[in-house]
């Protein structure tokens, strides 16, 4: 089992909604990632976090939610009874009731694409590179590197500007 994680770095998102667009396209018009805007105009994409101790999985009375070999949390629509307990338990409000399917759906970390050996569509397309996909240590490495840059930038800003730029 190769564990993979899908991580959205909110501080990088530019709100272009490409992720929502491509997810909509490959999931028949029902995107599993949605970009919300706060009143200050800041975009926040919300999708399944594929929690390690997934409350949705614990609470599901039908045992319809399981973890696949990459570590993605998946809902089996045939087993799902549509009780919405997962929605009640999910801290992010992710599971979506699909009236036609009579079941709950959500981000499946692009199961079809992973089967073909490609990365999830949103991660591959995000122009801002805000969605990371890979082995936990790879993703963590990226996140930490970014944090280091951020800290360095703040320290630089505290230094007097003279001497940083061109010598006059």
């Amino acid at each position: 089992m190769t564990r993979r994680i899908l991580h959205v770095d909110y501080s990088l998102c530019i709100g272009c909604e490409t992720c929502e667009g491509v997810c909509d396209f490959i999931h028949g018009g029902r995107p599993n990632i949605k970009v919300y805007y706060t009143i200050t105009g800041i975009p926040v994409p919300i999708n399944c976090r594929h929690c390690e101790k997934a409350p949705c999985m614990d609470v599901c009375p039908a045992g319809a939610i399981y973890r696949d070999s990459d570590g993605a949390v998946i809902i089996n629509p045939n087993k799902c009874i549509g009780c919405l307990m997962c929605l009640a338990a999910c801290p992010f409000g992710v599971p979506t009731f699909d009236v036609k399917l009579k079941a709950v759906t959500k981000c499946d970390m692009c199961a079809d694409r992973r089967r073909l050996g490609t990365a999830p569509a949103c991660a591959e397309m995000c122009p801002a590179g805000a969605i990371f996909f890979g082995k936990p240590e790879e993703v963590e490495e990226k996140v930490r590197r970014r944090t280091a840059e951020k800290i360095a930038r703040e320290r630089l800003a505290a230094v007097n500007l003279e001497g940083v730029g061109r010598m006059l």
Partner: protein, 710 residues
Amino acid sequence: MDEKLVPVVCPYCGVGCRLYIRSSDGHPLGIEYANDIPGISNENGKLCPKGNAVLEYVLARDRLKKPLKAKEQGKFVEISWSQAIKEVAERLKEYSKDDPNSMMFFGSAKTFNEPNYLIQKLARMLGTNNVDHCARLCHASTVSGLKAVFGAGAMTNTYRDIEEANVIFIIGHNFAETHPVGFRYVLKAKERGAKVIVADPRFTRTAWFADIYLQHYPGTDIALINGLIHVIIEERLYDEKFVRERCTGFDELAKTVEKFTPGYVEKITGVPADLIVQAARTFATGGKGVITWAMGITQHTHGHDNVRLLATLSAICGYQGREGCGVSPMRGQNNVQGACDLGVLPNVFPGYKAVSDPEGRKFFEEFWGTELSGEVGLTVIEAAHAIEKGKVRAYYVMGENPVISDANTNHVIKALHKLEFMVVQDIVPTPTMEFADIVLPAAAMLENEGSLTNTERRVQWSFQAINPPGEARPDWWIVSEIGKAAGFTGDGPKGFNYSGPEDILREVNACTPQYRGITPERLKANLAGIHWPCPSEDHPGTRVLYKERFLTSDGKAHLAAVEYRGPAETPDEDYPFLLTTVRYVGHYHTLTMTGRSRALVKRWPEPLAEIHPEDAERLGIKTGDWVKIVTRRGEYPIRAKVTRTVKKGVIAVPWHWGANVVTNDALDPVAKIPETKACACKVVKITEEEARELMKKVPPVIPEIEIVRG
């Protein structure tokens, strides 16, 4: 089945992203990401929502499939190609004989270089320089402003230089939303520790990434930039050596900006004085700096001066002629740069040779083998005014939609009613077609091939991926057939005998110095394209302009000293708000393409007018309420969105759906660009019925055209 993977260039914005179309026997099966081509402008094949939905508009149900002729206004009969060509050519010839300047030609930044070259050649061989395109409405001020300071009107650097910069000043440009894939380079620079300064009247998605954010009132750009220059000169942060050796006009500049102290500028722009000082210091001391702008700078009655000042700011800091530096005006359509380069402008021939310059004219007279006019032609907006005076009587519109795109729509419609003869060449019905006498169905970009020049002067070849519907034909074919039928049957450059776009590009190579080495063979072999200027076939192309000298007559940058001017119309008692126009990431231009894409319309179904919570409360407006925006020129119904992204007293309206019924067509005196970014308006709450009534008076963005039997 013969399945192919065809490399194309995205038909939307000026970033010029590459992608593949998977097709079988000329039918599209889907898109594939070009993550295997190194050096392209969209690293790893990334696309924005529009690029991802690129096949949808091509497959629109209402694509034009046959040439049409109007029986009466808005009612058409189908005719054959030979009849259509003959009729257009004959009418144009008549006007040419009578008075060539009674014709006006529109090129298009939404089609390839080759047809653009041909349409200006046709206009000029018919005896007029009345040829222009939509750059007039977006970057005319960039072309004229940069030409005045540096000698040429193009981006001086490439995306790579944005990535390598230490400080990036983004002004009047919602980079993250208008060019999401290009914005990647800003983010990458930021990761490296670069500082980002954003100046915008709206707290845009771009502003969210700013280290320093300056929220000035729409139209107060001159004061803001003068303020920055004031601080830089006052604190001696400018590059003295560069100014001494490569610029002229510094003393006058210093004198003019003297009074633009941060305190004075704060009064005009509403930006706190200490932020202005901080921004100026950050920009000037960055060591490597880039300035990017778009419509927020150009679409003003002082657009030309805005651009000159930005170029001046860049030059005094010594941010020219080096990697990681420069100015980057971001083009909105994928071939604005190319259409400008190839002379689809009333004042210049291909390669920016002035029509009024006898030497340049002589070259083209010999090259095309005919006498040419040295009189500067009309611009898009001037042409609409000239119709009213009876001076212009015929329009040839290739891939343009003036009814929605021009400022002050009601005036444009009134003018179009008066035209004697209008040809519209396009891929789908547009509101402009309502007034056409002849409609020529064109192939969409993915259905034919040719070269395109993106915003960073990168010329790329896009291949044919699918077959056009019905009898739709490539733009280059249509224009060359009309040219031949009009009697221009000479050999080579002297006529219109072409067997394909390659022939045309070779002719461009021969007459346009910047494109000399950019041959069709090279472009086809090199998918990442070539940056002009490329003076010979073994030249690799040029990443950064002006390494040694500028293109002005004396080789120096002519710094601009500009007095403050605000917008032509400012709020008063009757019209207390300042209106500005904006756009959405999922839509493009006048919706002719994105409006026919289900995926995009689903996500961006309607425009919303942004209004500050305090203003909204005073007027009793909540998010979702209908309001009408009223200006001296018209009324526009729209739903409101209450948000803090705009300043108090400012209303922001997306323009795609036809908001130009209210905008101001006051022109910049030099660039002749209308001021669509700032005018006075009032906001009135209305009921849904009232909105529906008003809606009927606004031209529909996606009209149906009626085809009757002959």
